[in-house]
Symmetry: C2
């Protein structure tokens, strides 16, 4: 309750005097996206307006507790008249801090989705805490429709009220937004492009082909199995002798591809074939990935996925 109790101590004259300059600073921060905006503010404003600096600190601790906006609303109700200017300042401060300092992360997801699992692994790799919100894909929530109005699909990541959609774009966003820990994309431009190429290849090929394995029969199924093995051989070639696609560490392509591993049992059982017999290096790689907690905790039980696939087959009229 620091913001409220110390408020009376804050000199309004300093606020008024600083208003124009302060707005300039906020604008500058928004324009230039300073990464360590708090230090920028301190450097520019601590001396000229010590009280504002204290307010920042209060606002920061409040935002971290996620109550900042609620409390500021209370505060506005309690005040009146000339405090309007102060309100404008508080608004900027709070808006700014909720946007940059607080990390409110929600993942709209569906348990069996390999695309959703990608995001779960990426967030786990970065050590980001988040709220997991399971979605009913046959009766989509208002939140999903609002946050992903173009595709209305999971996964959708909500970070401080703003949504990011499409799994590979989300994984890149997670890598960008939490830069410090466990980089997923390589720093070399060419290697980045190669990683993007293979992740995109997985997106374009693996899901469509594997869907055919559990939704078709006869010749079409045989064709799909052949196409899938061809796909995997290309991916084996790209892996080469590296432990992960990311080299020594789990990277973007690993995150894009390994979620399909918990679907392999369903493919193999529906298609009566062994992936390991055809592509042993892929299985060895997947098992290596599974040794990582970020992966093993994010992937689902293959038998549970298979049961889900059997349900889908009934729904699609395959069986």
């Amino acid at each position: 309750m620091h913001l409220l109790t110390t408020n009376s101590e804050i000199s309004l004259s300093i606020f008024q005097e600083s208003l124009t300059g302060w707005c300039d600073v906020v604008e500058d921060i928004e324009r230039n996206k300073h990464e360590n905006a708090i230090w920028y503010l301190i450097a520019h404003w601590a001396v000229r307006a010590q009280h504002i600096f204290h307010l920042f600190i209060s606002a920061t601790s409040f935002c971290k507790d996620r109550y900042a906006i609620k409390i500021s609303t209370l505060h506005y109700q309690e005040n009146s008249h000339s405090e309007r200017r102060e309100r404008t300042i508080c608004d900027s401060v709070l808006l700014f801090f909720t946007a940059t300092m607080a990390d409110e992360v929600t993942l709209l997801d569906f348990w069996a989705s390999p695309f959703g699992i990608r995001v779960r692994i990426a967030l786990a790799e970065k050590g980001v805490k988040y709220e997991y919100s399971e979605q009913n894909l046959r009766d989509k929530s208002a939140l999903l429709l609002q946050m992903n109005p173009v595709y209305k699909k999971i996964p959708t990541l909500i970070h401080n009220g703003r949504s990011v959609c499409e799994s590979l774009i989300i994984v890149q966003y997670v890598d960008d937004a939490w830069k410090g820990k466990a980089p997923l994309l390589p720093s070399d431009p060419y290697q980045r492009a190669q990683s993007r190429f293979w992740a995109d290849f997985i997106d374009k090929k693996v899901f469509e082909i594997t869907k055919k394995i559990w939704t078709t029969k006869g010749e079409e199924l045989e064709g799909a199995k052949k196409d899938f093995i061809e796909c995997l051989k290309l991916l084996e070639g790209e892996l080469g002798d590296k432990p992960y696609y990311g080299g020594e560490n789990l990277g973007y392509v690993d995150v894009a591809f390994v979620p399909f591993y918990c679907w392999f049992y369903a493919y193999e059982t529906c298609g009566s074939f062994s992936i390991e017999a055809e592509c042993p290096k892929i299985i060895a790689w997947a098992k290596r990935c599974m040794q990582k907690e970020s992966v093993s905790r994010s992937l689902e039980d293959p038998k549970k996925v298979y049961e889900f696939v059997l349900e889908l087959r009934k729904r699609f009229g395959v069986d």
Copy 2:
């Protein structure tokens, strides 16, 4: 011919003495991707091995003239025996310099491709000089098959012998590899994600829908026109009141979208409708983009594109 003529002056003993350390340096450079590797090398080696430093300078100027490998081959043929070690060093030097210093850029493309035009705009924005290689898509060249073995499609960019495929991945690569000038993607992680989302949306929607406009008739054509306008309305919404999708400057989404502008006349003529009447803001934006030389020089004449579309319609049996 500096490398050859000064070769006799280079003390082999210095080479031999420096060999191990030099290999470490090359490894370090490769591992850490030093951007200004030449300065790194100079700082580390100029004092300890002045002759090697002179060799670097020679190698650099040779690489710039693109003759390095040829000349070094000649050089190997002329030498024998204990010069094998020197050869190892030369190999590293030359391989290293061809990889980092020389910018040999070739674009395998097809004139009317909106995907190819994206890359042409990106390269023009960055001021990168390149060789344009028009491809016959009905009789693909050995180079295209070799450089894009997975999709065998244009555009394919070849940069110092290494290929990058898929237009949006190429544009991101160009932005990454020539970082200094005209940034295409915003620096803020959220804005980057939004840019990627809309460029991906254009990839997923615009081409498929617009293809239907010039390949179908009757109800299907009417449906495609409706879908296309819906798409454009979403894109109008995303543009808002900004001059470009990139804000004040041409950015990634502009580069992804504006190539379709030279196809608009064909869509409108085949579909008997006016895009400007439905989405005036999109047309105003496209005209703004056309004021940029990078765009106007890369886009093709709409009437020529229309004639090409008429040919395709005949080939596809639409007319």
